[in-house]
């Protein structure tokens, strides 16, 4: 990627970030009626006036946004109004948990999807391929919260194989305990992804395996295993990478339901609590943060994409 196109992309990124944060900021305006009386319905007049000043409701809309944005950028994400805890202190505890879960889920999904995708493409049309695809199609239709509930009830509560409802604070315990708490949420999140990744990789791989350069590799006398991994996998993994990249962003916050069901104190769980407690300021900060993270991850994927496929690098440089 040339410097010029990179600069263009960065510029785009900044614009998107501004708009995304602006939308997040506008969320609080969605609250019907007076936000202050919604946030602290039982507050004293003094507290209400303080909050009104905090939210900048006495200034113009744009300057409210700019103040809010400056606060966000300097790490001031507001505070909870019930107990005066700062959002950032919650964040430093919960974000690692969510990131950990996201990474585990992605790694877990890839660990299954990549070998299965390669194998089903290699043996496309076989019984193994058919069975794998049928199962994948079924898993696609299984909402992850249903799987999570089933896991939590049977594996967790009934058979007591793995713990749920970690209300432990701080969360990351010893590595073993950590894993025991993470395993079920990881599976619940990953299963659907396995199906998606598997299908993507399989269809791209089938297309790649029909390419002439695979025949060339074969005619070189290279064994099939090497051809699959060295020649076919990389050109087939671009769609997979894009979708996985999008999921990284989506999963940072998208695991809300899973975190709530398993009682995992991650970002999603905090969001859930904020909704229940009507902590709109905290909620707004969380949403903005997740949106920012999502945009940044997508940007990184975009850059990585052109590293993986020199043709794209070439086309983009030419364009």
């Amino acid at each position: 990627m040339s410097l010029h196109t990179f600069a263009q992309k960065v510029l785009q990124l900044v614009v998107v970030l501004l708009v995304v944060t602006f939308f997040s900021f506008c969320l609080i305006k969605l609250i019907p009626g007076d936000p202050v009386s919604k946030i602290i319905p039982f507050g004293t007049n003094l507290q209400k006036a303080q909050l009104r000043r905090d939210l900048g409701l006495d200034t113009s809309f744009i300057s409210q946004y700019l103040t809010w944005l400056r606060d966000i950028l300097t790490g001031d994400f507001g505070r909870y109004y019930n107990n005066n805890a700062s959002v950032s202190s919650q964040l430093t505890k919960s974000l690692p948990v969510s990131l950990e879960l996201m990474v585990y889920a992605q790694v877990f999904a890839m660990l299954f999807a990549i070998p299965l995708g390669i194998l089903t493409a290699y043996r496309s049309g076989s019984k193994f391929d058919g069975a794998t695809n049928t199962i994948a199609f079924g898993l696609l239709a299984l909402p992850n919260f249903v799987l999570a509930i089933i896991l939590a009830v049977y594996v967790g509560a009934k058979w007591k194989l793995l713990p749920t409802q970690s209300t432990l604070d701080p969360f990351p315990l010893s590595p073993i305990d950590n894993w025991r708490y993470m395993l079920m949420p990881t599976i619940a999140l990953a299963v659907g992804q396995i199906a998606v990744y598997l299908r993507l990789l399989r269809s791209d791989m089938i297309a790649t395996l029909q390419e002439d350069f695979i025949t060339t590799a074969k005619a070189k006398g290279i064994p099939n295993r090497k051809i699959l991994l060295k020649h076919a996998l990389r050109p087939s993994s671009l769609t997979l990478l894009t979708v996985a990249g999008l999921n990284v962003g989506a999963l940072i916050g998208g695991a809300v339901v899973i975190e709530v069901i398993f009682g995992l104190p991650g970002l999603g769980y905090r969001i859930y609590q904020a909704i229940l407690a009507r902590e709109y300021v905290a909620l707004q900060s969380y949403v903005a943060l997740i949106a920012i993270a999502y945009v940044l991850v997508n940007f990184a994927v975009d850059v990585l994409y052109s590293v993986l496929d020199p043709r794209i690098r070439h086309v983009r440089a030419a364009a």
């Binding site: 002439d212 060339t216 005619a219 020649h231 050109p235």
Partner: protein, 398 residues
């Protein structure tokens, strides 16, 4: 160390030591009655249907035919590159006296690259787009030969320069899309000859290239072949390509060899009307401009249900009733090594008589005695479409 130096001094590694070498006597490749049929929803496609030939070390065999004649499938069958599923194969392929058609996949793979290799038709798609040129050349070297990475690199650089690529060091780091079609085909050739195969298949190596570089690539193939004493099977649809570059030519039609002869003999005494028609279809520089291009009327037969009798009969200007009923066997001609399959061979009294009859009978309204010159040196004229009454005149429909 001395070994290394010795290898470095030779630009190229003889790779015979990994394979039991038979005495040099005997043909390098002997193919007997091979058949390759594909199972399709329409029925069995007889892509190769009983082909035999042999090839000496260091010699070149040209396989010529229209698209759909089975020539590409033949070369892939011989090399063993076709899929296992849905393919019915029979016949024997003896490479250095060993039957390779019955080899297990792993044993067959040991032959590829080191004993036989292939240059493919389209260099634009035959190179891995996401792998550097250098790695694509060193890959078979590192896999088949027990050499170090740095030595493989050096070998690859010298291979690139030997196939006429300037600045080979720089090219090593490039990706295929940074090169022209001709350059890529040179790279393909470098890959194919990297491990010093004894037999090189060139499957329409110039069809996808610019006319201006076609001759260069063919010359390069020929030069490499001589230098390395490889045998080569050159597959093409263009008789002009094989004319000066092969020792022997086999003409294929509908999955069968219909004429085979040493190159000179073929051009001076062609017997099969199909060969003659192929010959006519080459545009001549000596023709006045705007001369109508000669085409072979009709189209290649359906390989699922080929016509009765001689496969070429529906398109043949010499066709007689016998041709439509009985399939002509491959018979020997007077000249050594010359075989053909025709009841009324061109350039013989029977052939002349057959053609005469057709013209007189007026069954072929588009053909006049003047346009179909009987003989071996055609001068202009045209076999226009509509010469046959049975074949559909839908050229270029594929």
């Amino acid at each position: 160390m001395s070994l290394l130096r010795r290898r470095r001094s030779t630009e190229f590694i003889p790779a015979a030591d990994r394979y039991p070498v038979e005495p040099l006597a005997g043909a390098l490749l002997e193919v007997t009655d091979i058949r390759t049929h594909f199972e399709t929803s329409r029925g069995l496609v007889r892509a190769v249907d009983g082909v035999s030939f042999s090839l000496e070390r260091g010699k070149t065999l040209g396989i010529v035919g229209e698209s759909g004649s089975g020539k590409s499938v033949l070369s892939r069958s011989v090399m063993g590159l076709l899929p296992k599923n849905g393919v019915v194969r029979s016949g024997s392929i003896r490479f250095e006296g060993r039957d390779t058609s019955q080899l297990a996949p792993d044993d067959q793979r040991k032959l590829w690259g080191t004993q036989m290799s292939m240059v493919f038709q389209d260099p634009m798609t035959s190179l891995n787009p996401v792998m550097k040129i250098g790695n694509q050349i060193t890959e078979p070297l590192l896999y088949h030969l027990d050499i170090s990475k740095s030595f493989a690199r050096e070998t690859a650089v010298s291979l690139l320069s030997s196939v006429g690529i300037p600045e080979p060091e720089r090219r090593m780091k490039q990706y295929p899309h940074e090169m022209s079609g001709g350059m890529r085909q040179r790279v393909m050739i470098a890959i194919a000859i990297a491990c010093g195969p004894k037999l090189l298949f060139a499957d329409e190596p110039t069809t996808a290239l610019d006319v201006t570089v076609q001759a260069q690539i063919l010359d390069l193939l020929q030069a490499q072949q001589r230098e390395r004493f490889m045998a080569m099977i050159l597959v093409t649809h263009d008789l002009g390509v094989v004319a000066g570059r092969t020792d022997e030519i086999a003409v294929m039609y509908a999955g069968k060899i219909v004429e085979k002869a040493p190159t000179r003999t073929l051009f001076s005494q062609m017997r099969m009307p199909y060969t003659e028609a192929l010959m006519h279809s080459i545009p001549k520089l000596s023709n006045p401009s705007h001369t109508r291009l000669n085409v072979i009327p009709g189209r290649p037969p359906d390989l699922v249900s080929p016509p009765k009798g001689c496969n070429f009969s529906p398109r043949c200007p010499y066709v007689q009733d016998k041709c439509r009923k009985e399939e002509p066997p491959l018979v020997r001609a007077e000249a050594a090594g010359h075989e053909y399959a025709c009841w009324f061979p061109a350039g013989t009294p029977q052939g002349r008589a057959a053609l005469e009859r057709n013209v007189v009978a007026g069954a072929m309204s588009g053909v006049t005695a003047e346009t179909v010159r009987v003989g071996t040196t055609p001068i202009g004229g045209g076999i226009k479409s509509g010469t046959t009454t049975t074949a559909p005149s839908t050229e270029g429909s594929t």
